[in-house]
Symmetry: D2
Subunit: 440 residues, 4 copies
């Protein structure tokens, strides 16, 4: 429930095995190109590296005993390969080389999937931002009315967040996806002097980065992938949380798209729940739990870890799966979001104009200084609230105000649409910035 | 890989649905007993509450749309029930009542499974503690030789930890397993004045605790379950970590049981890896990540949460699954542990008797005071290390020592078995304490 | 900002040193009682165990070099003690014995402080629950209107949570506060056969529990303290979060007490921010971060840890400090909470009676079955929303309803105060339960 | 104890206030440049922005009440400024603008400090890597002997990790340090059409990045800083952990530098504890706890958060402080590390040559295939272990070996220095890569 179909398939048990076999195939081809194993052996091995040829339930059983899946996998692959080639399977590699590279290949697919999702999120938010540039709504700080903003500005924040997330994922994709190949202790000893050459050919075969040296227990790349995803997930939860808050019955400014069977209640006929927001928030919480595991698992012993690496086998896929759930939830939200601009306007007006208090202060400030202006308006606000009157009415009748501002000045100061500052400029910057990233 | 078969089955998708159906059955029976619904309806509903009657894949699909599995489940159950009884399915309950109570029932099974596992861990450790009461080994602080202990004492620590964990789980089991039943907003409004009566009968049907009031967004009970498991998991990782350290090639004092296909390496023929320790440690790391999610998900909105509750659906099962993996790993370790007491003795002797420095200090202290004794012995230690000699030999030739201790005094001071203090008393206390808990 | 003065003082640097000195004094007295050191030495040592006699800045400097504060502390204490007694300072103990026991003594003070705070929270909530038993308000699930509750019920949840927290802290206090005394490797070797006797006398002196054996690297007690506090902190954040939500401008049902200089804005004259809620929530987040550290630090090496124990020196105090901040914030909130029952009623009525949809369903259900009743009312709700009419009006004009319910039936079904189910019973149970704990 | 003096001073209370004042000064200058406030006012305000002019204890008291430090700070600053200029203090800004920008300025100092520390770590490790290119030692996987490596290679891993950390911090420094300036709701409304211009001038004054739009509740930049530090801290703990493991009495291959009063024990005269490793590991644990808080605090409400932002005030400084502790600990370790190459060689030889099993396999493989070679050598290993003989001797007497390998072949296969594969190439790549980063 807390992921997407696409991400589930990238991190399925079958895909995992295929990605490990992709490593073995690429290794055989690279070693054949390097002249380390016979060309025919390279072909013969690569030919068997197809998950359909493997009995996955037997493989998993043996993996449990061995403590690592790659050992029985290599054994099974060796059994499948016939003739002289059999002796060259997994040549010079260690079980962690297979597993780590397989995981990196899955991570690449996972990053591509997230990037695709985020582009869709960004596009949908960009439409909202563009359409609602001048749709005024309440800006809320500490959950209190603060100042008017527009719904376009709120959406532009979502656009800008998504843009930065995309930039971050592009960078992580280009920097942190390095092949793993070091042999049993990271020296490539079994390959004699040819290690680095094979490493480079292998990276070329898989289109992965070449690390300075094997990274069996240097997990900062993995941690960077995980934390980048955590930042994405939490960023999505911020959007989903705001939507859930805006959907509150008393506020009702936006609504998730309705669909038959969606968001109802088993006992309350009138209910329309923010199910996508809820799902995105829950997914993000789960993603952060997994990120925490990856990060703390970085502390690994010597040349191969006792526990830290193995925890990644579960925690890194979880990070991808649940982050996809968060992004997927927000994608559904923003694509179908119903915006009630009348309600936005009504909420803006509800507190008797008090939300325009700063505007009135700033109108007054050039005449009496910011400090005095603040004190006068604060006083008017308290009075208006006490007497249940509009701020404008109270201001109009106040001598301190009347001495320096005309009725028209007051009216202008209290018009939300006249007090939006750089709102439109900010929206445009966010849109331009997203378009730049989306073009890449 | 990081759990047990038993726990997997308790938290399978099928078991989950059955446990929710158990709630619906018990609710129907309770309401029939209370005279709220016809007796026949109670029977008819309970009769259909069998998971085998449900199409789980269709259920999961609809759950995704609804945002919660209990809504389509109740609908399907309603379709299954025939006649007048159909109208009484899920009477007065809300979707969270079903889900939470189902989860509590799974948690009870999960706690029972963990308690069973821990009893086995405790028994195996108790055997080790008893057998090795006087098997001397190095006590290590900050990974340095400190003082002699016995392997029995180390095992007694494992016993005592397990005993405390058992006590904690027994308490959590008796305190935190409360039925959930509150209706849509926790008032049981749909039951009029009969709510509390039904609540009590329902708890009786399911043999669960009666809460003061519904706890839809008061998740301290759930958090206490999760954190108690986290404490178990981390306690197991401590044991597993010590075993992995003791298995280091240079130390070699214990070894996980050998088995064909277990703990080997795909490239190193001589390898015998601590696979159970590794698995226990990885499981514990994963468990702690899940605990963190449950704990931070306690902050829930009003009468039903937007995300916090839903994250529990995944995180609480994960806590159970991975904690079981940690306990299961340690169970395998301690049941088959191979103990090399010769190697323990050899390691004890390896540093030229320096490990007995405190004993020599304490022998000296009554004569010259603790401070001076410490300084003299520290000086001898440095000299012995510098000259590559035994501490005993250096001490024997030192005038400050010779002035107050006889050669026999020195020899006795340097005998590890004579400097074990309360070791045996501690072991006995730990064993007695475990036996008390195990009898429960 | 995120703690209380009392807790700051319990975990001040000075208090920490005094608590370690309390251990040294108690040890000296216990050993004198056991006849292990001269009675006069016991008195002479205890006499110097006063923090005022120590130069704390010099102590801290030396602690940094030594890697542990107790080593220079013992050295300084030894220098202070004169004559023969000097040789008996810290007899048979190790640095961790001092530090851990000192920390346990601080933890006891900390628990007492939290228990005191929670009693005040509970009392204030109990007043609210009692006063507002029948003050109707909206019950909200997934942030949507669900069903009527009363503000008394919401407060009763706070009471019940606090009651359970108090029970939990009482238990932790009685179970997890054990003296630490094991000597360098947990054998009490330096005390020969007298170890257990001294251990018991020491526990008696400090009024702490006697552990089965030393627990230098068995940290489940510490973890249980920390996680219990985490559960308290998160429970408080739940309350604070609900208050912040209820304070939203559009909802306005409660408000934190106003005070000069409190909760204003540097630019918005009309603002009144939920500063105590905010502070409680932030404190809880910080507490949970610290709990996570304590829990994951349980995995400690052999007889003394390399990092895990030392991290506790900071993380456990943080857990106490920030949990106190969370409880303190909520205490301020609930003591001064301004409740606007008119606004509660207005919000209840705002959605045209839709919140009573379930009540109408249940009124209809005995006549047409729950399923059909649900469908009919859902249909009415949609119609009422579409047409902007009251649910009652739409229902009154609907033939399916009219066929079985009289206008009075409909009216009664739509009265929030008539659809509160077990609300009052639940409130009473929560109050009774709190009173029981408060009497302890 | 778990930080550095430099970082303590960057995150002191005084530095924090000064950094906020730097914002106010820069804002005044920027607005004067933009012609929004009088030039004289800009100078007059900037002139008072010196922490020495402020009463910090009064400030902190008022901050507690206000819920945020910037409100009383702006008030105090306003009081300090005289004449007409007073009215222009904090013009158009909100309290979060001050606090966030101040924090960003501290973060920049913090990043610079960490970069400086890491360069020193890298340099010291590079020296070790260069000096020990061919110092053979045991490579250990899952804490078992695996294959020979060199201490230079191990150090090269530390170099490469540090290099990547440096690259990451440089990037974060250039990407995530954006000025905060949005006014009360992120629209810069109080500045009318001049908002963006002032924003750009302000960024210029402070030499900070210009954000697309204000980021009051878009915290991905802050989270990226925190997670990058977490990755650094955990990477340091990996190094420290390996040093602690290598310092084990039974292994003794390296040692932290000795110093008077350092690493001793209060009861064990012979002890020399890995105090810097311990401190680095503990610091990293604490840092990760703080990172977790920052990451989960990203989920913030609307235009200003209720708790999430405020938790950062503590958690982000903690991240810097404790990460500095981890880096500082490792810096001390690697600068003074004592390397015992004789002990390394002795450990390599200790298991009777079994560590060379893969080398023997690879020598055999071209003749009999990898699979058969593995099986033969595994068999020899078991036999050698069982009989307590050297692997070489057993191999020499085995017919299957003798049939294809000469005694010289066997001897060569069993020479650790002849089986190092790409070790030197890897070391060189790591050194070159570090030098490139160090030159920046």
């Amino acid at each position: 429930m807390f992921t997407t179909k696409e991400m589930s398939s990238i991190f399925s048990g079958e895909a995992r095995v295929q990605r490990m076999l992709d490593f073995e195939a690429a290794l055989a081809r690279a070693e054949a190109r390097a002249g380390i194993i016979p060309e025919q052996a390279g072909r013969a091995i690569a030919d068997k590296c197809r998950v359909k040829l493997f009995d996955l339930s037997r493989l998993n059983e043996q993996a449990e005993l061995a403590g690592v899946i790659s050992i029985p996998l290599v054994r099974m692959l060796t059994e499948l390969v016939e003739g002289e080639a059999r002796g060259f399977v997994h040549w010079g590699a260690t079980s962690q080389d297979v597993l780590d590279t397989g995981m990196v290949l899955q991570a690449r697919d996972g990053l591509d999937s997230l990037i695709g999702q985020l582009l869709e999120v960004g596009s949908a938010c960009a439409l909202l931002a563009d359409r609602h540039r001048r749709t005024p709504m309440v800006g809320r700080t500490l959950l209190q009315h603060a100042l008017p903003i527009t719904f376009g500005l709120k959406s532009a924040h979502w656009v800008a967040t998504t843009t930065r997330q995309l930039r971050r994922l592009h960078e992580v994709r280009s920097r942190s996806l390095a092949v793993q190949f070091g042999g049993a202790a990271g020296t490539l000893a079994a390959l004699g002097v040819d290690g680095v050459k094979v490493l480079e050919l292998l990276a070329d075969e898989l289109d992965l980065g070449i690390p300075e040296l094997p990274w069996h227990t240097d997990r900062d790349r993995v941690a960077e992938i995980a934390t980048s995803l955590g930042i994405v997930a939490a960023g999505m939860a911020k959007i989903a949380g705001d939507v859930a808050l805006l959907m509150q019955t008393e506020i009702g400014e936006v609504s998730e798209e309705a669909a038959a069977g969606k968001g109802g209640s088993s006992s309350l006929p009138q209910k329309r729940n923010p199910v996508d927001s809820t799902s995105a928030i829950a997914s993000a919480k789960l993603a952060l739990g997994a990120v925490d595991v990856v990060l703390s698992s970085m502390v690994q012993e010597h040349e191969r870890a006792v526990g830290g690496w193995q925890a990644e086998w579960v925690a890194l896929p979880h990070t991808f799966l649940f982050t996809a759930g968060a992004v997927g939830g927000v994608r559904t939200i923003v694509r179908g979001l119903e915006v009630d601009s009348d309600r936005m306007r009504a909420n803006l007006d509800m507190a008797g104009g008090q939300i325009m208090a700063e505007a009135l202060t700033m109108a007054l400030a050039p005449h009496v200084g910011r400090g005095d202006a603040y004190r006068v308006v604060a006083d008017l606000c308290r009075r208006a609230a006490r007497e249940g009157r509009e701020l404008g009415a109270v201001a109009a009748g106040d001598g301190r105000i009347g001495a320096v501002l005309s009725p028209e000045d007051i009216e202008r100061a209290l018009d939300p649409l006249a007090y939006l500052g750089s709102t439109e400029a900010f929206i445009q910057k966010a849109l331009d910035d997203f378009n730049e990233v989306a073009r890449v």
